[in-house]
Structure formats: structure tokens, C-alpha cells
């Protein structure tokens, strides 16, 4: 048998590893900043570029796409070469992939604080960056499939299946969720509106967790855990069963983010049922991982990287049990919009993704530098500080969630809300938020210790950029393989197509009827498109990231209709591009805020929230008073909206600036009568116009009439 000599490319692995460490520190530091902003609002620093609403997406995207993203590529580029016994397909593509991804991260870090955002959670970047992501993802795909095609190992190991599923599903998710109509360089509108936009967003959001934060990490687990423990995976059959079940089921579960909203009830039910079913394949992966350590637990005592892996797998098990539980309507009714969701995602992010990334870094760096780890003791210190950090983060958040969730729902014996002032419930959980910040600080401290440890390791070694390896060339197959899956394991393109079919079924069943059957989204005659000024105000609301703290959907609970007003109907959102329902109530829901307070109240509240709400943790927005409203793209926006189906007439578009001025003058006159002198061309006027419009369309109709029309 002729052995072929070749080299593994360790330089690209090193590059992604360094990027993982740097962006990890950046993302976690920003996370600590936003945690502090929720305790001390002065940490918003009174500039528009550092408010919670603008910085929170920087944190989430930095952690998901910069830290975890680079971590995925680090792990994939290392393990893929070794299980396929081949160097990466193209060094040039590897470099384009690396620098392209870093460019996307930097572009996002600049544009998001500037307020260029689509507001779709975990996909906030505007359309030019979306296109860049698509191109770089294709580069990654070509490089990965090129490597698979030139492999020297006939059958693809389970890790590779997960990488293939990740590639194909993230591509589908990103493209469908980024269907936007550009208006200018940094402004676009989604082609979907309201309920349909919500369904697409949470189909994407949930499956970004599934196929960016889960499947690539499961693939890496199947390579790195056996290597670290020096034992093969516990059950290969279980890995096949849990792989196919996981990718099939995960895609259906997105609607559990929209329970009790105006999403059609059958879609919500599908989301619940498949979320419960998801426990089985998720735990299949966790059990397979933990049982791989069977007989090797003595190593866990001495190897810090195995300690990280055990906590990572345990966190994965906890998060994937908790997710389905949160999908039960009874639990969701209390936990949704509270800190429970924050705790849930952080058990996954800090425990599963963070700890596995750390374990892989401790495994990889000494190997690619042909040396040993500088200090196992420091790695152990990192492990214990990090674990403590997760506990200090998660437990106070669960506590805060239960406290606040129950306070929102508590009534007095007389039948009125016990805590009608939302702020009272926010202030009650500030101590828990302080403990959460301590947890975050501990976790970040651990990551800094790791960085020091790995830098010292790098300094004492030398990079083995091209690691020599040898393997026999792949010869043509002479016998027919009868086993179906065995045949599949050597056909990457067929494998990709089958994975694609598996992940498309759920999305198609949920989305096509929601988009095509008109009875799923009943229209309401009283609901009209936003005026020119309101449309401008809505874009300011999006720019400032208000959706990060305020929801815009009143659920059909007595506790919510008593607090906010009539519950939200699907037909009220038909002109909302994007939908702004939000996922967390740090402040109250705003869907029925229109007409609730006078213009002067909103002016004062935006100038300094503590004027109207003493003790408020909301940042002040004084620049809305100083800055002139930019109307240069107003008519282009209205034309874009019209092309997407919003019934603006040509006359309305032509007269947009005149109508805008007229409405703005009305607001400034009202403010003037309340001792507030402000020019009508200021941003705050548009913001007030938008807030005063929210949820008012059906208020104009007698409630019984509205309900009757909705039922039609």
C-alpha cells in the first residue's frame, strides 16, 4: 500500500484560535458593560453610541459570531483535516475565509453602535454585511467540500456530518432571514411583515442556536472528546440516530419563541410538540459524550480540559432540558420576557460553547506549537473561576425571573394589579442583576487567566505551521457496500442534499401556509399604514435599539390586558417591517402606549427618564432633541414600502415632506402649550409621533367591532 506524504495546515488553526481568544475577551467585556448598564444607567455614558440598546447587539453578535464563530472554524479546520487525512483544499481560500470573517466582525462592531441595524435578533447587521457573510460562508463551504472531495479516508466521520449540516443549514437560514429591500447603503426593509416576519425571525433565531451554537460544537465534541480521553466515542449508532433526529426536529421548534402571540395557534402548537421531542436527540448527544468518558473519569481529575468538557456537556444537557420546558405554555406564560430566558441562553453560551471552546484551546495550542501547556494549575484555576462565574450568573437570573414574572401577574384581593407600576418590578431585581454582573466578571477573569496561560505556552513553543502526516491514497472501491448509511458516509454531496431535505421540511410546513393562507393573518380595516413622520419615528426607534428592552405584543392574559390594554391581533402588524415584538421586557410593553400619555410626558421621558419615572434604569436620549431629522430618504422609504405591498398612494409619497411637517408642527404646538419650545424638525418629534401611534388603530374602533372583524 502506497503511503502519501502531506502536511496539515496548522497556521490557519492558530489564526482562528488567536481570533477566538481576542474576540472572546472583547465580547465578554461588552457583556459585562451591558450587565452594569442595567444596574447603573450612568454607564450608558450619555452618548448615543454606547447606550444599552445599541451595545447589546454588539455583545450578542460578538459572542456568537466572533468568539463562537472563530472557535468553530478553529475546531473545524483542525479536526476536518485529521479525520479526512488531507490538508485543507486551498490555503488561499483559508486565508480569505479568515480575513473576510474578521472584516465582517469589525464592520459589525462599527455599524451597530452607529445605529445601522435591521433589529432582527442575532442578525442585526444591514444588507451589505449580510452579503459579505454570504460570500465568506460560500468560501468556507468550497474549502470544506474541496477538502472532503480530496480526502484519503473513504468514510466521513460523524464530526464531518455535523459540519456539513451546519454549512448547509446556516446558508439557508441566513439567506431566508436576510431577504431585504435596500433603500440606501445602510437602510433596508424586510420583505416580510408583522406575524410572518416574526415567524421567519424566530425560525432563524432558534436555528441559529441550533446550527451555529450546537451542531458544529457537537461535531467538535465527537472529535476532541475521544482524543482528549483517548477513547473512541461510546456509541456510533447513537451518534447516527441523534444526528438525523436532531437536525430534523430542531428546525420545527422556532415558534416556541412566539407562544401566546398573534402567530396562528397551529404553528405555536407545532413549535411546542417538536420542542418537547427535541429533548431526546439533544440528550442523545450529551449521553454519548459523557459515556465516552466511561472508564476514563480518573483523567477528569487530572486533565483540566476534560473538566471543561464535562461541564460543557452538563450545561448542554441542562439547557436542552430547560428549552423544551420553557416551550410548555404554562411555564412560558411566566418565564417569557423575563430573565429566565437570559439565564437559559447563558447556561448554553457560557457552559456549552464557552467551556468547550476553552477545552479545545487548551488541547490545540500546545499541539500546534509542539510544546506542553504552560501551567495546568492556572488552567484548573480558570476552570473553577469560570464554573463559579456560571453559577453566579445563572442562579440570580432564575431568581430574578421568578420574582419579576410573579410580580407582573399578582393581583390584589380587590382584583387590581398589585404592582401596576412596571418600574417597581424592575427595581426589585436590581440586586440579582448585581450578582449576575459579579458572575460575568468572574467568567471574564477566568478567560483572562487562560489568555495569559496560552500566551506563555505559545512563547515557549514554535509553531508547527505544516505538520507532516501520511496516509494511503484513496483507491477506487472494488466491492459494493450494502449498508445504506455506510454508502452515505462516503458520498458528501448526497449527504448534504439529504441533510438539506431534512432541515427544509419543518420550515416549509410552518412557513408556506402562514404566508399563503390568508385566514392565518386576518386583516383589520381600521389598521392604516404609518404616516411619513411616524415611519421616520419608527426608524429612530429601530436605530436606538428600543426593541432590546421593550416588547410590542400584548399577550391574552388578564395580567397583561389589565396592565397594557387590549391584547395584540395579527392584523395590527401588517405594515410592520420589521416586526418589533422583542424578546425581553426590561421595560414595559409599548404596543398600547399610543395616547396613554401626553406628548410632554414622552418628551420628558426621553430627555431624562427619571423625570417621569424616578429610579428608572432607562438611558436618557438628549441627542434626539439636538439632532435634525434626516428626511433625505423618506420618499425612497415610502416607495420601497409601496413596492412591498404597503398601500401608499403616489400623492401621499409626493406630499410626504409636507404631511410630515404638518404633523410635526401639531406636536410642537402641543409641546409649546406645555412650556416646551422645540423646533419641528427635531428627531424627538418623530419619535413621539411614532410612540403616540402605537396600538391606536383598533382603539378607534369599538372593541366588539374589532374583535368581530378579527374573527372573520
Amino acid at each position: 500500500m502506497h503511503l502519501e506524504q502531506f502536511n496539515y495546515d496548522n497556521r490557519i488553526v492558530r489564526d482562528f484560535a488567536v481570533a477566538t481568544i481576542i474576540w472572546g475577551l472583547v465580547g465578554m467585556s461588552i457583556g459585562l458593560l451591558v450587565a452594569c448598564q442595567l444596574i447603573w444607567p450612568e454607564m450608558n455614558f450619555l452618548t448615543q453610541y454606547s447606550t444599552f440598546g445599541r451595545v447589546r447587539p454588539v455583545h450578542t453578535n460578538a459572542v456568537i459570531f466572533a468568539f463562537v464563530g472563530n472557535g468553530i472554524f478553529m475546531g473545524v479546520y483542525y479536526s476536518l483535516q485529521r479525520v479526512l487525512k488531507a490538508r485543507m483544499f486551498s490555503d488561499v481560500l483559508s486565508k480569505i475565509h479568515f480575513w473576510g470573517w474578521q472584516f465582517i466582525i469589525v464592520a459589525s462592531a462599527i455599524t451597530l453602535p452607529l445605529g445601522f441595524t435591521t433589529s432582527h435578533e442575532y442578525a442585526e447587521m444591514e444588507w451589505p454585511i449580510d452579503i459579505a457573510i454570504t460570500l465568506i460562508w460560500v468560501v468556507f463551504g468550497i474549502n470544506m467540500f474541496g477538502t472532503i472531495i480530496k480526502r484519503r479516508e473513504r468514510h466521513m466521520y460523524v464530526a464531518v456530518w455535523f459540519y456539513i449540516a451546519t454549512f448547509v443549514t446556516v446558508a439557508v437560514l441566513h439567506i431566508v432571514n436576510s431577504m431585504q429591500l435596500p433603500v440606501s447603503m445602510w437602510k433596508s426593509f424586510y420583505v416580510y411583515a408583522g406575524v410572518q416576519d416574526a415567524l421567519v425571525q424566530w425560525w432563524y433565531g432558534h436555528n441559529a442556536v441550533a446550527f451555529f451554537l450546537t451542531t458544529p460544537y457537537l461535531g467538535m465534541m465527537y472529535y476532541f472528546l475521544p482524543k482528549m480521553a483517548n477513547r473512541p466515542v461510546y456509541s456510533y449508532k447513537l451518534s447516527i440516530l441523534h444526528f438525523w433526529s436532531l437536525i430534523f426536529i430542531y428546525i420545527w421548534a422556532g415558534p416556541h419563541h412566539l407562544l401566546y402571540t398573534s402567530l396562528p395557534s397551529w404553528v405555536q402548537s407545532l413549535g411546542v410538540v417538536f420542542s418537547i421531542m427535541l429533548i431526546a436527540p439533544s440528550w442523545g448527544g450529551m449521553i454519548n459524550g459523557l459515556l465516552t468518558l466511561r472508564g476514563a473519569w480518573d483523567k477528569v481529575r487530572t486533565e483540566p480540559m476534560l473538566k471543561f468538557m464535562v461541564v460543557a456537556l452538563t450545561s448542554y444537557g441542562m439547557a436542552t432540558f430547560e428549552g423544551p420546558m420553557l416551550s410548555l405554555k404554562q411555564v412560558n406564560a411566566i418565564a417569557h420576557f423575563t430573565d429566565w430566558i437570559v439565564a437559559h441562553v447563558h447556561v448554553g453560551a457560557l457552559g456549552w460553547n464557552g467551556f468547550m471552546t476553552f477545552a479545545i484551546l487548551y488541547y490545540l495550542i500546545p499541539r500546534v506549537y509542539k510544546t506542553t501547556l504552560h501551567s495546568k494549575k492556572l488552567a484548573n484555576v480558570h476552570f473553577w473561576i469560570g464554573t463559579l462565574g456560571i453559577l453566579f450568573y445563572a442562579i440570580p437570573m432564575y431568581w430574578a425571573a421568578v420574582v419579576q414574572g410573579l410580580m407582573w401577574k399578582e393581583f390584589t384581593p380587590e382584583g387590581v394589579l398589585k404592582y401596576p407600576n412596571f418600574l417597581a418590578t424592575t427595581l426589585e431585581i436590581i440586586p440579582m442583576h448585581m450578582m449576575r454582573a459579579v458572575g460575568g466578571a468572574l467568567y471574564l477573569t477566568g478567560a483572562i487567566i487562560m489568555t495569559y496561560n496560552l500566551v506563555k505556552t505559545i512563547k515557549k513553543g514554535n509553531l508547527l505551521a505544516n505538520e507532516p502526516a501520511e496516509a494511503p491514497a484513496l483507491l477506487p472501491l472494488k466491492s459494493v457496500e450494502r449498508d445504506q448509511h455506510r454508502r452515505l458516509e462516503r458520498k458528501p454531496i448526497l449527504f448534504m442534499v439529504l441533510a438539506l431535505i431534512a432541515i427544509l421540511i419543518g420550515g416549509i410546513v410552518e412557513m408556506i401556509p402562514t404566508f399563503t393562507v390568508s385566514s392565518n393573518i386576518p386583516t383589520i380595516a381600521a389598521v392604516k399604514p404609518y404616516t411619513a413622520l411616524e415611519l421616520q419615528g419608527r426608524d429612530l426607534y429601530i436605530r436606538e435599539g428600543c426593541v432590546n428592552c421593550h416588547s410590542q405584543t400584548v399577550r391574552p392574559f388578564r395580567s397583561e390586558t389589565s396592565r397594557y390594554g387590549e391584547y395584540s391581533k395579527a392584523g395590527e402588524f401588517v405594515y410592520d417591517r420589521p416586526f418589533l415584538w422583542g424578546s425581553k421586557r426590561t421595560g414595559p410593553d409599548l404596543h398600547r402606549v399610543g395616547g396613554k400619555y401626553p406628548h410632554k410626558w414622552h418628551f420628558d421621558h426621553l430627555l431624562d427618564p427619571t423625570i417621569t419615572s424616578p429610579g428608572s434604569i432607562m438611558p436618557a436620549y438628549p441627542w434626539l432633541i439636538d439632532q435634525t431629522l434626516d428626511n433625505s430618504t423618506l420618499q425612497a422609504k415610502m416607495r420601497a414600502m409601496r413596492s412591498l405591498g404597503v398601500p401608499y398612494s403616489s400623492n401621499e409619497i409626493d406630499r410626504a415632506l409636507i404631511d410630515l411637517q404638518k404633523q410635526a408642527t401639531g406636536i410642537t404646538k402641543d409641546l409649546a402649550s406645555n412650556q416646551v419650545e422645540i423646533r419641528s424638525d427635531r428627531e424627538i418629534v418623530a419619535m413621539i409621533a411614532y410612540l403616540q401611534r402605537l396600538g391606536t388603530d383598533i382603539k378607534a374602533v369599538v372593541p366588539e367591532d374589532a374583535a368581530a372583524k378579527t374573527d372573520q
Binding site: N230, R231, P232, K237, I240, L241, L270, V273
Partner: protein, 63 residues
């Protein structure tokens, strides 16, 4: 006890069809596993352990 699925207004067809699709899919995968040969499973499990690295480390433990 649990009333997760209520008021589907005739849209049960989506749920029932979806569950049938999954059941058929799951059974097909399960049947493939039943027919899978043990030698192939052991071969696949050992793929991450290439000889070059094993020389430097301790012997592979397959227990």
C-alpha cells in the same frame, strides 16, 4: 393535565402530518442502524485515532 394543543380550528392536519413525517423518517434511520455491521461501526469509531499521534501517546483504550 397538559393542554398544549387546543383550538387548532381544523388545522390539526399540519400537526398530524408532521408527526407522521417524523415517525417514518425516524423508523428509516433506526432500520439502517439495525442493519449496520459491527466491523464498520468499530472502524468509524477509530477514525480520529491516526497512527502517527498514537505513537506519541498512550495506547488507545477501547474498553
Amino acid at each position: 393535565m397538559f393542554k398544549q394543543i387546543t383550538n387548532l380550528h381544523g388545522d390539526e392536519i399540519y400537526l398530524i402530518t408532521s408527526l407522521w413525517i417524523f415517525l417514518v423518517f425516524f423508523l428509516l434511520v433506526a432500520l439502517m442502524l439495525v442493519w449496520m455491521k459491527k466491523e464498520h461501526i468499530n472502524y468509524m469509531k477509530d477514525i480520529p485515532f491516526d497512527e502517527a499521534e498514537e505513537k506519541d501517546g498512550e495506547p488507545l483504550n477501547k474498553d
